[in-house]
């Protein structure tokens, strides 16, 4: 007879959400299994990307001694507003960013995620890779009791299952925690290339003194052909991560090919010099859920909790996702520990997890920016119009020799009115402020 595999807790998915959950539970003595479908933990995971140490420190106070595979600390961050042949740069560089460990680092996920999984494994979690969860098992009353994997003899049981399956949340949908897929205007598709370049070239081009400095630039306007979306240029140790992301709906409506938009961005006269001589090492693509606070799935039901991208926990405005995922995974893990102590795995008990998230930055930030996706959705001209405007203003401002300054100012106001009616502009501004204030 086949043996029944029983654990105290099952985690589906080895991204930051799932690994944080598994680590938290295993450390407290729960018999925990983490199931990941990739060839190794991290094989499927792909992002910009920047990681924030506050979330890692909450999970692992001594993370620095465990030598995480960071690329570069961020010492300069900001925005570039790109027009077809020019750029306005707004970045912030400060000595205040220089402390160890720094607040944020660039990382490569196929290297960082395995490190984090190793910490979970050291804490006692059983990490099983190359295994896909096909469905979640429920008893006759609908309570979650385990998962079915694609291994022979692959059913695994536990009183609590944490689903951290990422943006393609098929299990979450099948459980009915969210009705169906997000529509294409609430997910962004991003493509990226990791381009290898000697450290000394990166440092010279970005004005960095050494490996102890790094830059993360988010780029708007012509980078996405004026459509709602962002592009990015991040420095790694010996490479550059360059990518573009737009709402999937934009690709569909305009029949655009993501790799052509990326190639166009790479050819831009302002961008091209940064990449010169680099060797393309890897291309990839991933979705970003722009679910927003109001469209999130139910986070807990009997015997189950959902964390990270699977629940749409992303703050797209500040390119944050891994820190929300890691914090949510940790909080789900803590709730699971309490549920074991109380012997209560009901939805009512597990809803404490939602409460904890509401009291943390995770849901506070998501609540504040709840209107942001709607703003971009209803104001698609925003980025293009204003990026071009800023560049034209800058050009006029810096080349207005021999023109009375008052006339120059009038010209600048006129330039904006030509593009959009004054009321249109005022409306955009009000909408933007409202979306930011929440």
């Amino acid at each position: 007879m086949a043996t029944k595999h029983t654990f105290d807790a099952i985690v589906v998915g080895g991204g930051p959400a799932g690994t944080a959950a598994a680590l938290t539970m295993a450390r407290s003595g729960l018999k925990t299994i983490l199931i990941e479908r990739g060839n190794f933990v991290g094989a499927k995971n792909f992002f910009g990307g920047v990681m924030y140490t506050h979330a890692i420190a909450d999970l692992l106070p001594d993370f620095w001694e465990r030598t995480p595979p960071f690329e570069r600390p961020l010492t300069e961050q900001g925005y570039w507003m790109l027009a077809p042949d020019s750029v306005v740069r707004m970045t912030h560089k400060s000595e205040h960013y220089k402390h160890e460990p720094a607040d944020a680092y660039t990382v490569l996920r196929a290297q960082f995620d395995p490190w984090l999984a190793e910490q979970a494994s050291k804490a006692g979690a059983l990490v099983v890779t190359r295994t896909a969860v096909l469905r979640v098992l429920q008893d006759s009353k609908g309570k979650v009791i385990g998962v079915r994997t694609d291994r022979p003899d692959g059913d695994v049981y536990a009183p609590i299952v944490i689903i951290a399956e990422g943006v393609n949340n098929l299990l979450t949908q099948r459980l009915g925690l969210i009705k169906n897929d997000l529509p294409p205007r609430f997910v962004a598709l991003a493509v990226k290339e990791y381009i290898s370049l000697p450290a000394k070239d990166i440092q010279a081009r970005f004005g960095l003194t050494g490996a102890n400095e790094g830059a993360a630039i988010d780029i708007f306007g012509d980078a996405t052909m004026g459509l709602p979306g962002t592009a990015f240029l991040y420095t790694d140790k010996a490479g550059i991560s360059i990518g573009v992301g737009m709402l999937l709906d934009e690709f569909i409506q305009h029949k655009l090919r993501p790799y052509e938009v990326l190639a166009r961005f790479k050819n831009h006269p302002v961008i091209q010099p940064y990449l010169e001589g680099g060797k393309p090492f890897e291309y990839g693509a991933h979705l970003i859920p722009e679910t927003g606070y109001d469209r999130m799935p139910k986070l807990a039901a009997d015997g189950v909790m959902v964390a990270g991208d699977a629940a749409g926990m992303v703050d797209a405005l500040h390119r944050e996702g891994t820190n929300l995922a890691m914090t949510a995974g940790r909080m789900a893990g803590l709730t699971a520990i309490k549920a074991h102590q109380a012997g209560d795995f009901s939805a009512t008990f597990l809803n404490q997890y939602r409460q904890d998230l509401e009291n943390s930055f995770v849901l506070k930030d998501m609540k504040q920016y709840r209107r942001m996706t709607d703003f971009l959705d209803t104001t698609p001209h925003f980025m293009g119009t204003y990026a071009n405007f800023l560049n034209d203003v800058a050009l006029r401002y810096f080349t207005a020799h021999g023109i009375p300054k008052r006339d120059m100012e009038r010209q600048i106001v006129g330039m904006l009115q030509e593009r959009r009616s004054f009321f249109g502009v005022a409306q955009d501004m009000v909408k933007l402020l409202r979306a930011m204030r929440g």
């Binding site: 479908r37 990739g38 060839n39 190794f40 991290g42 094989a43 499927k44 995971n45 792909f46 992002f47 077809p84 490569l108 996920r109 196929a110 960082f112 995620d113 890779t129 190359r130 295994t131 896909a132 694609d150 393609n168 897929d181 997000l182 529509p183 294409p184 997910v187 598709l189 493509v191 290339e193 990791y194 052909m225 004026g226 490479g239 999937l248 709906d249 690709f251 569909i252 409506q253 305009h254 029949k255 655009l256 090919r257 993501p258 790799y259 052509e260 938009v261 190639a263 166009r264 393309p280 090492f281 890897e282 291309y283 990839g284 693509a285 979705l287 959705d377 209803t378 698609p380 001209h381």
Partner: protein
């Protein structure tokens, strides 16, 4: 006739001049950089019903798939080269007729990023 503008549908078409600035890209040059553990025995991306595709006016999957898994053959039939799929999920969400049967590859198969 007055067209009512629906929320989220305010897409003004791209100007032909802007579209002309898009460079042609040979997708194979990008796909060769990606490591895969191809499952030759299981196609995780499939067209549910090819006759539905013939009714699909815009066929957006041909363009938005980031690795061009979808191509049209000489007769216009949609072909699925699932081996190059990076499992992003766009076709599941983006096919307007929900005609893509989207599954995960079997455990251990599919894309395996080296850098991510």
């Amino acid at each position: 006739m007055k067209l009512k503008k629906k929320k989220g549908q305010s897409h003004e078409p791209l100007s032909p001049e802007l579209r002309a600035t898009l460079p042609k890209v040979n997708i194979n040059d990008l796909v060769v950089s990606i490591k895969y553990y191809v499952d030759e025995d299981f196609a995780h991306i499939q067209i549910r019903d090819h006759s539905v595709c013939t009714r699909c006016a815009t066929k957006p999957c041909l363009d938005f798939c980031p690795v061009q898994v979808f191509t049209a053959d000489a007769q216009g039939k949609i072909m699925v080269g699932y081996q190059a799929c990076v499992e992003c999920g766009s076709c599941r969400i983006g096919c307007p007729l929900k005609n893509v049967d989207w599954q995960l590859p079997r455990g251990g198969h599919g894309v395996a990023y080296k850098f991510g």
